[in-house]
Symmetry: C2
Subunit: 276 residues, 2 copies
Protein backbone atom coordinates (compact mmCIF):
# COMPACT_ATOMS: atom_id res chain seq x y z
CA UNK A 1 0.00 0.00 0.00
CA UNK A 2 1.23 3.50 -0.79
CA UNK A 3 2.36 4.93 2.53
CA UNK A 4 2.75 8.58 1.51
CA UNK A 5 1.33 10.85 -1.16
CA UNK A 6 1.81 14.53 -1.94
CA UNK A 7 -0.43 17.07 -3.62
CA UNK A 8 0.06 20.68 -4.67
CA UNK A 9 -2.89 23.05 -4.57
CA UNK A 10 -2.59 26.58 -5.97
CA UNK A 11 -3.53 29.54 -3.81
CA UNK A 12 -6.68 31.38 -4.87
CA UNK A 13 -7.54 35.06 -4.65
CA UNK A 14 -11.20 35.87 -5.17
CA UNK A 15 -11.71 39.30 -6.75
CA UNK A 16 -15.48 39.44 -6.25
CA UNK A 17 -18.30 37.08 -5.33
CA UNK A 18 -21.90 36.62 -4.39
CA UNK A 19 -22.79 34.23 -1.56
CA UNK A 20 -25.21 31.35 -2.13
CA UNK A 21 -25.72 29.42 1.09
CA UNK A 22 -27.67 26.15 1.21
CA UNK A 23 -28.41 25.03 4.74
CA UNK A 24 -29.55 21.56 3.70
CA UNK A 25 -26.70 20.56 1.36
CA UNK A 26 -23.18 22.03 1.68
CA UNK A 27 -22.19 20.54 -1.68
CA UNK A 28 -24.79 22.76 -3.37
CA UNK A 29 -23.83 25.87 -1.40
CA UNK A 30 -21.10 28.13 -2.69
CA UNK A 31 -20.51 31.36 -4.52
CA UNK A 32 -20.48 32.94 -7.92
CA UNK A 33 -17.51 35.13 -8.75
CA UNK A 34 -14.07 35.21 -10.29
CA UNK A 35 -10.51 34.96 -9.09
CA UNK A 36 -6.91 34.05 -9.74
CA UNK A 37 -5.23 30.74 -8.93
CA UNK A 38 -1.60 31.26 -7.99
CA UNK A 39 1.72 29.50 -8.40
CA UNK A 40 2.18 30.24 -4.68
CA UNK A 41 0.16 27.48 -3.06
CA UNK A 42 0.10 24.71 -0.51
CA UNK A 43 1.99 21.43 -0.64
CA UNK A 44 0.24 18.71 1.34
CA UNK A 45 1.87 15.43 2.35
CA UNK A 46 -0.34 12.67 3.69
CA UNK A 47 0.94 9.60 5.50
CA UNK A 48 -0.96 6.69 6.90
CA UNK A 49 -0.80 6.99 10.64
CA UNK A 50 -2.43 7.34 13.97
CA UNK A 51 -4.01 10.70 13.29
CA UNK A 52 -5.86 12.62 12.33
CA UNK A 53 -3.20 15.28 12.84
CA UNK A 54 -2.13 18.33 10.84
CA UNK A 55 0.96 20.49 10.83
CA UNK A 56 1.33 23.67 8.80
CA UNK A 57 4.89 24.83 8.23
CA UNK A 58 5.90 22.56 11.09
CA UNK A 59 3.39 23.78 13.66
CA UNK A 60 0.47 21.68 14.87
CA UNK A 61 -2.77 23.37 13.83
CA UNK A 62 -6.49 22.64 13.82
CA UNK A 63 -8.29 23.26 10.51
CA UNK A 64 -11.89 22.14 10.64
CA UNK A 65 -12.14 21.61 6.85
CA UNK A 66 -9.24 19.13 6.97
CA UNK A 67 -10.76 17.24 9.90
CA UNK A 68 -13.99 16.96 7.94
CA UNK A 69 -12.22 15.62 4.83
CA UNK A 70 -10.31 12.99 6.81
CA UNK A 71 -13.51 11.98 8.55
CA UNK A 72 -15.35 11.64 5.21
CA UNK A 73 -12.55 9.43 3.87
CA UNK A 74 -12.27 7.40 7.11
CA UNK A 75 -8.59 8.26 6.95
CA UNK A 76 -6.75 8.69 10.29
CA UNK A 77 -3.88 10.30 8.42
CA UNK A 78 -0.91 12.36 9.46
CA UNK A 79 -1.00 15.48 7.28
CA UNK A 80 1.94 17.87 6.90
CA UNK A 81 1.50 21.03 4.82
CA UNK A 82 3.90 23.74 3.71
CA UNK A 83 3.00 27.12 2.28
CA UNK A 84 4.50 30.52 1.67
CA UNK A 85 1.04 32.10 1.68
CA UNK A 86 -0.15 34.16 4.66
CA UNK A 87 -3.08 32.68 6.56
CA UNK A 88 -6.51 34.28 6.92
CA UNK A 89 -5.63 36.79 4.24
CA UNK A 90 -7.75 35.71 1.30
CA UNK A 91 -5.59 33.06 -0.39
CA UNK A 92 -7.84 30.06 0.17
CA UNK A 93 -5.34 28.21 2.36
CA UNK A 94 -8.10 26.32 4.18
CA UNK A 95 -9.56 25.20 0.85
CA UNK A 96 -6.12 24.19 -0.38
CA UNK A 97 -5.49 22.15 2.76
CA UNK A 98 -8.86 20.43 2.39
CA UNK A 99 -8.41 19.66 -1.32
CA UNK A 100 -4.78 18.58 -1.06
CA UNK A 101 -5.68 16.32 1.86
CA UNK A 102 -8.54 14.77 -0.12
CA UNK A 103 -6.38 14.05 -3.18
CA UNK A 104 -3.45 12.63 -1.24
CA UNK A 105 -5.48 10.67 1.34
CA UNK A 106 -7.54 9.08 -1.45
CA UNK A 107 -4.29 7.76 -2.86
CA UNK A 108 -2.68 6.63 0.36
CA UNK A 109 -5.83 4.89 1.61
CA UNK A 110 -6.86 3.65 -1.87
CA UNK A 111 -10.37 5.00 -1.55
CA UNK A 112 -10.89 4.88 -5.36
CA UNK A 113 -12.85 8.10 -5.56
CA UNK A 114 -12.93 10.22 -8.71
CA UNK A 115 -11.60 13.78 -8.92
CA UNK A 116 -15.11 15.24 -8.82
CA UNK A 117 -15.95 13.19 -5.74
CA UNK A 118 -12.81 14.39 -3.97
CA UNK A 119 -13.48 18.02 -4.94
CA UNK A 120 -17.06 17.66 -3.69
CA UNK A 121 -15.86 16.36 -0.32
CA UNK A 122 -13.31 19.17 0.06
CA UNK A 123 -15.76 21.85 -1.09
CA UNK A 124 -18.45 20.64 1.29
CA UNK A 125 -15.95 20.54 4.14
CA UNK A 126 -14.75 24.11 3.48
CA UNK A 127 -18.36 25.34 3.29
CA UNK A 128 -19.41 23.56 6.48
CA UNK A 129 -16.36 24.87 8.30
CA UNK A 130 -17.31 28.40 7.23
CA UNK A 131 -13.83 28.98 5.83
CA UNK A 132 -14.63 29.24 2.11
CA UNK A 133 -17.44 29.22 -0.45
CA UNK A 134 -15.64 28.96 -3.77
CA UNK A 135 -11.90 28.44 -3.27
CA UNK A 136 -11.93 24.65 -3.61
CA UNK A 137 -13.68 24.44 -6.98
CA UNK A 138 -11.47 27.24 -8.32
CA UNK A 139 -8.33 25.55 -7.00
CA UNK A 140 -9.35 22.27 -8.60
CA UNK A 141 -9.66 24.04 -11.97
CA UNK A 142 -6.64 26.35 -12.06
CA UNK A 143 -6.12 29.32 -14.36
CA UNK A 144 -8.31 32.37 -13.86
CA UNK A 145 -11.63 30.76 -12.92
CA UNK A 146 -15.06 32.30 -13.34
CA UNK A 147 -17.62 30.63 -11.09
CA UNK A 148 -20.91 30.94 -12.97
CA UNK A 149 -22.98 28.75 -10.67
CA UNK A 150 -22.31 27.86 -7.03
CA UNK A 151 -21.70 24.41 -5.59
CA UNK A 152 -19.48 21.41 -6.13
CA UNK A 153 -18.68 19.79 -9.49
CA UNK A 154 -22.11 18.13 -9.83
CA UNK A 155 -23.88 21.47 -9.64
CA UNK A 156 -21.60 24.34 -10.50
CA UNK A 157 -20.58 25.70 -13.85
CA UNK A 158 -17.08 27.09 -14.33
CA UNK A 159 -15.56 29.13 -17.11
CA UNK A 160 -12.24 30.96 -17.26
CA UNK A 161 -10.45 34.03 -18.53
CA UNK A 162 -7.94 32.79 -21.14
CA UNK A 163 -4.90 34.66 -19.87
CA UNK A 164 -1.79 34.35 -17.76
CA UNK A 165 -0.20 37.07 -15.68
CA UNK A 166 2.49 37.89 -13.20
CA UNK A 167 0.83 38.63 -9.86
CA UNK A 168 2.15 40.70 -6.97
CA UNK A 169 0.59 40.87 -3.52
CA UNK A 170 1.03 42.43 -0.08
CA UNK A 171 -0.87 41.30 3.00
CA UNK A 172 -1.45 43.63 5.92
CA UNK A 173 -3.66 41.48 8.09
CA UNK A 174 -6.43 38.97 8.46
CA UNK A 175 -10.15 39.31 7.91
CA UNK A 176 -12.52 36.59 9.10
CA UNK A 177 -14.37 35.01 6.19
CA UNK A 178 -16.80 33.55 8.71
CA UNK A 179 -17.59 36.96 10.25
CA UNK A 180 -18.34 38.57 6.89
CA UNK A 181 -20.41 35.65 5.63
CA UNK A 182 -22.42 35.33 8.85
CA UNK A 183 -23.50 39.00 8.56
CA UNK A 184 -25.93 40.49 6.04
CA UNK A 185 -24.56 39.60 2.62
CA UNK A 186 -27.28 41.30 0.56
CA UNK A 187 -25.21 44.34 -0.41
CA UNK A 188 -22.18 42.16 -1.15
CA UNK A 189 -24.08 39.69 -3.28
CA UNK A 190 -25.79 42.40 -5.34
CA UNK A 191 -22.40 43.97 -6.05
CA UNK A 192 -21.00 40.53 -6.84
CA UNK A 193 -23.67 39.82 -9.43
CA UNK A 194 -23.00 43.13 -11.19
CA UNK A 195 -19.27 42.37 -11.27
CA UNK A 196 -19.88 38.89 -12.69
CA UNK A 197 -22.08 40.27 -15.48
CA UNK A 198 -19.32 42.61 -16.46
CA UNK A 199 -16.62 39.92 -16.56
CA UNK A 200 -18.84 37.45 -18.42
CA UNK A 201 -19.41 40.10 -21.06
CA UNK A 202 -15.69 40.83 -21.35
CA UNK A 203 -13.58 37.96 -19.96
CA UNK A 204 -10.22 39.74 -19.76
CA UNK A 205 -7.81 40.49 -16.92
CA UNK A 206 -8.42 44.23 -17.33
CA UNK A 207 -12.15 43.77 -16.95
CA UNK A 208 -11.60 41.44 -13.97
CA UNK A 209 -9.51 43.88 -11.97
CA UNK A 210 -11.85 46.79 -12.72
CA UNK A 211 -14.88 44.75 -11.67
CA UNK A 212 -13.07 43.57 -8.54
CA UNK A 213 -12.17 47.09 -7.44
CA UNK A 214 -15.71 48.31 -7.96
CA UNK A 215 -17.04 45.29 -6.05
CA UNK A 216 -14.76 45.95 -3.08
CA UNK A 217 -16.03 49.53 -2.92
CA UNK A 218 -19.71 48.72 -3.41
CA UNK A 219 -19.61 45.83 -0.94
CA UNK A 220 -18.03 48.19 1.61
CA UNK A 221 -15.24 45.75 2.33
CA UNK A 222 -12.31 48.12 1.77
CA UNK A 223 -10.24 48.85 4.85
CA UNK A 224 -8.23 52.11 5.12
CA UNK A 225 -4.95 50.23 4.70
CA UNK A 226 -6.17 48.43 1.55
CA UNK A 227 -7.59 51.63 0.10
CA UNK A 228 -4.27 53.42 0.48
CA UNK A 229 -2.25 50.68 -1.22
CA UNK A 230 -4.72 50.29 -4.10
CA UNK A 231 -4.65 54.04 -4.69
CA UNK A 232 -0.86 54.04 -4.69
CA UNK A 233 -0.85 51.37 -7.39
CA UNK A 234 -3.38 53.30 -9.48
CA UNK A 235 -1.29 56.45 -9.10
CA UNK A 236 1.68 54.51 -10.53
CA UNK A 237 -0.47 53.48 -13.55
CA UNK A 238 -0.96 49.94 -12.26
CA UNK A 239 -4.02 47.80 -11.68
CA UNK A 240 -4.85 46.41 -8.24
CA UNK A 241 -7.70 45.30 -6.03
CA UNK A 242 -8.40 43.55 -2.74
CA UNK A 243 -8.41 39.80 -2.04
CA UNK A 244 -11.71 38.46 -0.71
CA UNK A 245 -11.48 38.02 2.22
CA UNK A 246 -8.26 39.34 3.65
CA UNK A 247 -6.49 42.62 4.18
CA UNK A 248 -4.51 41.87 1.04
CA UNK A 249 -3.89 43.85 -2.15
CA UNK A 250 -3.04 42.07 -5.40
CA UNK A 251 -1.78 43.67 -8.59
CA UNK A 252 -0.91 42.51 -12.08
CA UNK A 253 2.56 42.83 -13.56
CA UNK A 254 4.74 45.18 -11.49
CA UNK A 255 1.89 47.26 -10.09
CA UNK A 256 2.94 47.08 -6.44
CA UNK A 257 6.68 47.27 -7.12
CA UNK A 258 6.17 50.34 -9.28
CA UNK A 259 4.26 51.95 -6.43
CA UNK A 260 7.22 51.44 -4.10
CA UNK A 261 6.10 48.35 -2.20
CA UNK A 262 8.06 45.13 -1.71
CA UNK A 263 5.45 42.58 -2.68
CA UNK A 264 5.50 38.81 -2.87
CA UNK A 265 5.68 37.82 -6.53
CA UNK A 266 4.08 34.84 -8.22
CA UNK A 267 1.93 34.19 -11.30
CA UNK A 268 -1.39 32.71 -12.25
CA UNK A 269 -1.22 28.91 -12.11
CA UNK A 270 -2.01 27.15 -15.39
CA UNK A 271 -3.26 23.95 -13.76
CA UNK A 272 -5.57 22.94 -10.98
CA UNK A 273 -4.64 20.95 -7.90
CA UNK A 274 -2.48 17.93 -8.68
CA UNK A 275 -0.94 14.87 -7.15
CA UNK A 276 2.84 15.05 -7.32
CA UNK B 1 -2.00 44.98 -30.48
CA UNK B 2 -0.36 41.69 -29.61
CA UNK B 3 1.18 40.40 -32.83
CA UNK B 4 1.99 36.85 -31.76
CA UNK B 5 0.73 34.39 -29.18
CA UNK B 6 1.63 30.81 -28.35
CA UNK B 7 -0.36 27.99 -26.81
CA UNK B 8 0.51 24.46 -25.71
CA UNK B 9 -2.08 21.72 -25.99
CA UNK B 10 -1.40 18.25 -24.55
CA UNK B 11 -1.81 15.20 -26.76
CA UNK B 12 -4.75 12.96 -25.92
CA UNK B 13 -5.10 9.20 -26.18
CA UNK B 14 -8.66 7.90 -25.90
CA UNK B 15 -8.81 4.44 -24.35
CA UNK B 16 -12.50 3.81 -25.09
CA UNK B 17 -15.53 5.78 -26.21
CA UNK B 18 -19.10 5.77 -27.40
CA UNK B 19 -20.09 8.04 -30.30
CA UNK B 20 -22.89 10.59 -29.90
CA UNK B 21 -23.41 12.45 -33.16
CA UNK B 22 -25.78 15.43 -33.42
CA UNK B 23 -26.44 16.46 -37.00
CA UNK B 24 -28.09 19.74 -36.06
CA UNK B 25 -25.55 21.11 -33.53
CA UNK B 26 -21.87 20.09 -33.61
CA UNK B 27 -21.29 21.70 -30.20
CA UNK B 28 -23.70 19.15 -28.66
CA UNK B 29 -22.23 16.19 -30.57
CA UNK B 30 -19.31 14.31 -29.08
CA UNK B 31 -18.42 11.18 -27.19
CA UNK B 32 -18.40 9.60 -23.79
CA UNK B 33 -15.23 7.80 -22.75
CA UNK B 34 -11.92 8.17 -20.99
CA UNK B 35 -8.36 8.90 -21.95
CA UNK B 36 -4.94 10.26 -21.07
CA UNK B 37 -3.67 13.76 -21.77
CA UNK B 38 0.05 13.73 -22.46
CA UNK B 39 3.07 15.92 -21.84
CA UNK B 40 3.87 15.26 -25.50
CA UNK B 41 1.62 17.73 -27.29
CA UNK B 42 1.36 20.48 -29.84
CA UNK B 43 2.80 23.98 -29.60
CA UNK B 44 0.84 26.45 -31.70
CA UNK B 45 2.08 29.93 -32.62
CA UNK B 46 -0.39 32.39 -34.12
CA UNK B 47 0.60 35.61 -35.86
CA UNK B 48 -1.55 38.25 -37.40
CA UNK B 49 -1.11 37.98 -41.11
CA UNK B 50 -2.47 37.45 -44.55
CA UNK B 51 -3.64 33.91 -43.95
CA UNK B 52 -5.27 31.74 -43.11
CA UNK B 53 -2.27 29.46 -43.41
CA UNK B 54 -0.93 26.58 -41.35
CA UNK B 55 2.42 24.85 -41.12
CA UNK B 56 3.08 21.72 -39.06
CA UNK B 57 6.72 21.03 -38.24
CA UNK B 58 7.61 23.43 -41.05
CA UNK B 59 5.44 21.90 -43.78
CA UNK B 60 2.37 23.61 -45.21
CA UNK B 61 -0.69 21.50 -44.35
CA UNK B 62 -4.46 21.73 -44.58
CA UNK B 63 -6.38 20.87 -41.41
CA UNK B 64 -10.08 21.52 -41.76
CA UNK B 65 -10.65 21.98 -38.02
CA UNK B 66 -8.11 24.83 -37.96
CA UNK B 67 -9.67 26.51 -40.98
CA UNK B 68 -13.03 26.36 -39.24
CA UNK B 69 -11.65 27.91 -36.04
CA UNK B 70 -9.97 30.77 -37.89
CA UNK B 71 -13.15 31.36 -39.85
CA UNK B 72 -15.24 31.44 -36.65
CA UNK B 73 -12.86 33.99 -35.12
CA UNK B 74 -12.63 36.05 -38.33
CA UNK B 75 -8.88 35.70 -37.95
CA UNK B 76 -6.80 35.52 -41.16
CA UNK B 77 -3.88 34.28 -39.08
CA UNK B 78 -0.58 32.64 -39.91
CA UNK B 79 -0.41 29.52 -37.74
CA UNK B 80 2.77 27.55 -37.15
CA UNK B 81 2.63 24.34 -35.10
CA UNK B 82 5.28 21.97 -33.82
CA UNK B 83 4.74 18.50 -32.42
CA UNK B 84 6.64 15.30 -31.69
CA UNK B 85 3.41 13.30 -31.93
CA UNK B 86 2.71 11.13 -34.97
CA UNK B 87 -0.28 12.20 -37.07
CA UNK B 88 -3.41 10.16 -37.65
CA UNK B 89 -2.37 7.77 -34.92
CA UNK B 90 -4.82 8.54 -32.13
CA UNK B 91 -3.15 11.46 -30.32
CA UNK B 92 -5.73 14.14 -31.03
CA UNK B 93 -3.35 16.31 -33.04
CA UNK B 94 -6.20 17.85 -35.05
CA UNK B 95 -8.02 18.74 -31.85
CA UNK B 96 -4.84 20.19 -30.39
CA UNK B 97 -4.27 22.31 -33.49
CA UNK B 98 -7.85 23.57 -33.34
CA UNK B 99 -7.77 24.37 -29.62
CA UNK B 100 -4.31 25.93 -29.66
CA UNK B 101 -5.30 28.06 -32.63
CA UNK B 102 -8.47 29.20 -30.85
CA UNK B 103 -6.61 30.19 -27.65
CA UNK B 104 -3.78 32.00 -29.40
CA UNK B 105 -5.88 33.68 -32.12
CA UNK B 106 -8.31 34.98 -29.49
CA UNK B 107 -5.36 36.69 -27.85
CA UNK B 108 -3.72 38.05 -30.98
CA UNK B 109 -6.97 39.36 -32.44
CA UNK B 110 -8.40 40.43 -29.05
CA UNK B 111 -11.68 38.64 -29.61
CA UNK B 112 -12.43 38.66 -25.83
CA UNK B 113 -13.98 35.22 -25.75
CA UNK B 114 -13.97 33.09 -22.60
CA UNK B 115 -12.20 29.74 -22.28
CA UNK B 116 -15.48 27.84 -22.61
CA UNK B 117 -16.37 29.77 -25.75
CA UNK B 118 -12.98 29.00 -27.30
CA UNK B 119 -13.23 25.32 -26.36
CA UNK B 120 -16.73 25.21 -27.85
CA UNK B 121 -15.50 26.66 -31.13
CA UNK B 122 -12.58 24.23 -31.34
CA UNK B 123 -14.73 21.23 -30.34
CA UNK B 124 -17.39 22.08 -32.91
CA UNK B 125 -14.73 22.54 -35.58
CA UNK B 126 -13.12 19.16 -34.82
CA UNK B 127 -16.54 17.45 -34.87
CA UNK B 128 -17.60 19.10 -38.13
CA UNK B 129 -14.29 18.21 -39.75
CA UNK B 130 -14.85 14.58 -38.72
CA UNK B 131 -11.42 14.46 -37.08
CA UNK B 132 -12.43 14.08 -33.43
CA UNK B 133 -15.38 13.70 -31.05
CA UNK B 134 -13.86 14.20 -27.62
CA UNK B 135 -10.20 15.20 -27.86
CA UNK B 136 -10.75 18.95 -27.55
CA UNK B 137 -12.74 18.91 -24.30
CA UNK B 138 -10.27 16.42 -22.81
CA UNK B 139 -7.29 18.51 -23.92
CA UNK B 140 -8.85 21.62 -22.40
CA UNK B 141 -9.15 19.82 -19.05
CA UNK B 142 -5.87 17.93 -18.75
CA UNK B 143 -5.09 15.04 -16.42
CA UNK B 144 -6.84 11.72 -17.05
CA UNK B 145 -10.27 12.89 -18.22
CA UNK B 146 -13.50 10.91 -18.01
CA UNK B 147 -16.10 12.24 -20.44
CA UNK B 148 -19.43 11.49 -18.79
CA UNK B 149 -21.61 13.41 -21.23
CA UNK B 150 -20.84 14.39 -24.82
CA UNK B 151 -20.57 17.89 -26.24
CA UNK B 152 -18.82 21.17 -25.58
CA UNK B 153 -18.46 22.85 -22.16
CA UNK B 154 -22.09 24.04 -22.06
CA UNK B 155 -23.40 20.50 -22.36
CA UNK B 156 -20.82 17.96 -21.33
CA UNK B 157 -19.86 16.71 -17.92
CA UNK B 158 -16.25 15.80 -17.19
CA UNK B 159 -14.65 13.97 -14.31
CA UNK B 160 -11.14 12.60 -13.93
CA UNK B 161 -9.05 9.78 -12.52
CA UNK B 162 -6.91 11.32 -9.75
CA UNK B 163 -3.57 9.87 -10.80
CA UNK B 164 -0.39 10.60 -12.72
CA UNK B 165 1.69 8.13 -14.66
CA UNK B 166 4.63 7.68 -16.96
CA UNK B 167 3.30 6.73 -20.40
CA UNK B 168 5.08 4.88 -23.20
CA UNK B 169 3.78 4.52 -26.73
CA UNK B 170 4.64 3.05 -30.12
CA UNK B 171 2.82 3.93 -33.34
CA UNK B 172 2.76 1.57 -36.27
CA UNK B 173 0.43 3.38 -38.62
CA UNK B 174 -2.60 5.53 -39.17
CA UNK B 175 -6.28 4.71 -38.85
CA UNK B 176 -8.90 7.08 -40.23
CA UNK B 177 -11.15 8.40 -37.47
CA UNK B 178 -13.56 9.53 -40.15
CA UNK B 179 -13.80 6.06 -41.72
CA UNK B 180 -14.55 4.37 -38.40
CA UNK B 181 -17.07 6.98 -37.30
CA UNK B 182 -18.88 7.04 -40.64
CA UNK B 183 -19.50 3.28 -40.42
CA UNK B 184 -21.87 1.46 -38.06
CA UNK B 185 -20.86 2.52 -34.55
CA UNK B 186 -23.47 0.47 -32.66
CA UNK B 187 -21.08 -2.28 -31.55
CA UNK B 188 -18.43 0.25 -30.63
CA UNK B 189 -20.78 2.45 -28.64
CA UNK B 190 -22.25 -0.47 -26.68
CA UNK B 191 -18.74 -1.58 -25.74
CA UNK B 192 -17.85 2.02 -24.87
CA UNK B 193 -20.76 2.34 -22.46
CA UNK B 194 -19.79 -0.85 -20.66
CA UNK B 195 -16.20 0.37 -20.32
CA UNK B 196 -17.36 3.74 -18.97
CA UNK B 197 -19.54 2.07 -16.33
CA UNK B 198 -16.57 0.12 -15.15
CA UNK B 199 -14.25 3.14 -14.87
CA UNK B 200 -16.90 5.29 -13.18
CA UNK B 201 -17.29 2.57 -10.58
CA UNK B 202 -13.53 2.34 -10.03
CA UNK B 203 -11.71 5.46 -11.30
CA UNK B 204 -8.15 4.14 -11.25
CA UNK B 205 -5.49 3.72 -13.92
CA UNK B 206 -5.62 -0.06 -13.54
CA UNK B 207 -9.35 -0.10 -14.18
CA UNK B 208 -8.90 2.31 -17.11
CA UNK B 209 -6.38 0.16 -18.96
CA UNK B 210 -8.37 -3.03 -18.37
CA UNK B 211 -11.57 -1.41 -19.62
CA UNK B 212 -9.71 0.03 -22.62
CA UNK B 213 -8.30 -3.33 -23.64
CA UNK B 214 -11.67 -5.02 -23.36
CA UNK B 215 -13.25 -2.19 -25.37
CA UNK B 216 -10.72 -2.54 -28.18
CA UNK B 217 -11.49 -6.24 -28.41
CA UNK B 218 -15.27 -5.93 -28.16
CA UNK B 219 -15.39 -3.05 -30.64
CA UNK B 220 -13.34 -5.15 -33.06
CA UNK B 221 -10.84 -2.36 -33.62
CA UNK B 222 -7.68 -4.33 -32.84
CA UNK B 223 -5.33 -4.78 -35.78
CA UNK B 224 -2.90 -7.74 -35.91
CA UNK B 225 0.08 -5.44 -35.27
CA UNK B 226 -1.59 -3.83 -32.23
CA UNK B 227 -2.66 -7.21 -30.86
CA UNK B 228 0.87 -8.52 -31.02
CA UNK B 229 2.40 -5.57 -29.20
CA UNK B 230 -0.27 -5.52 -26.49
CA UNK B 231 0.25 -9.24 -25.88
CA UNK B 232 4.00 -8.75 -25.64
CA UNK B 233 3.48 -6.10 -22.94
CA UNK B 234 1.09 -8.35 -21.02
CA UNK B 235 3.59 -11.20 -21.24
CA UNK B 236 6.18 -8.89 -19.64
CA UNK B 237 3.73 -8.18 -16.76
CA UNK B 238 2.87 -4.74 -18.11
CA UNK B 239 -0.41 -3.00 -18.88
CA UNK B 240 -1.19 -1.71 -22.36
CA UNK B 241 -4.00 -0.98 -24.76
CA UNK B 242 -4.71 0.69 -28.11
CA UNK B 243 -5.16 4.39 -28.82
CA UNK B 244 -8.52 5.32 -30.36
CA UNK B 245 -8.16 5.76 -33.28
CA UNK B 246 -4.71 4.90 -34.51
CA UNK B 247 -2.49 1.88 -34.90
CA UNK B 248 -0.83 2.87 -31.63
CA UNK B 249 -0.18 0.98 -28.39
CA UNK B 250 0.21 2.85 -25.10
CA UNK B 251 1.46 1.41 -21.83
CA UNK B 252 1.95 2.65 -18.28
CA UNK B 253 5.33 2.78 -16.58
CA UNK B 254 7.92 0.76 -18.49
CA UNK B 255 5.47 -1.68 -20.08
CA UNK B 256 6.72 -1.34 -23.64
CA UNK B 257 10.41 -1.05 -22.72
CA UNK B 258 10.17 -4.16 -20.58
CA UNK B 259 8.69 -6.00 -23.55
CA UNK B 260 11.71 -5.09 -25.68
CA UNK B 261 10.29 -2.16 -27.67
CA UNK B 262 11.85 1.29 -28.05
CA UNK B 263 8.86 3.47 -27.24
CA UNK B 264 8.40 7.21 -27.06
CA UNK B 265 8.22 8.19 -23.41
CA UNK B 266 6.12 10.93 -21.84
CA UNK B 267 3.70 11.28 -18.92
CA UNK B 268 0.16 12.30 -18.18
CA UNK B 269 -0.17 16.10 -18.35
CA UNK B 270 -1.37 17.71 -15.14
CA UNK B 271 -2.95 20.73 -16.85
CA UNK B 272 -5.18 21.46 -19.78
CA UNK B 273 -4.31 23.55 -22.80
CA UNK B 274 -2.61 26.82 -21.89
CA UNK B 275 -1.39 30.07 -23.33
CA UNK B 276 2.37 30.39 -22.93
Amino acid sequence: MTEEARAFVPGHITGFFSAHPDDSDPTKAGSRGAGLTLTDGVEVTVQQGNGPSLTLNGDAVEVEAVDRVLDALSAPAVVAAETELPLGSGFGVSGALALGTALAANRVYRRQLSENELVTIAHGADVQAGSGLGDVVAQARGGVPIRLEPGGPQDNHLDGIPARARVEYVSMGELSTEDVLSGDTTLLSEAGKRALSRVVEEPTLASFVHASRRFAREAELLTPAVTEVVQDVLAADGQASMAMLGETVFAFGTGLSDAGYEPSVCATHPAGAMLK
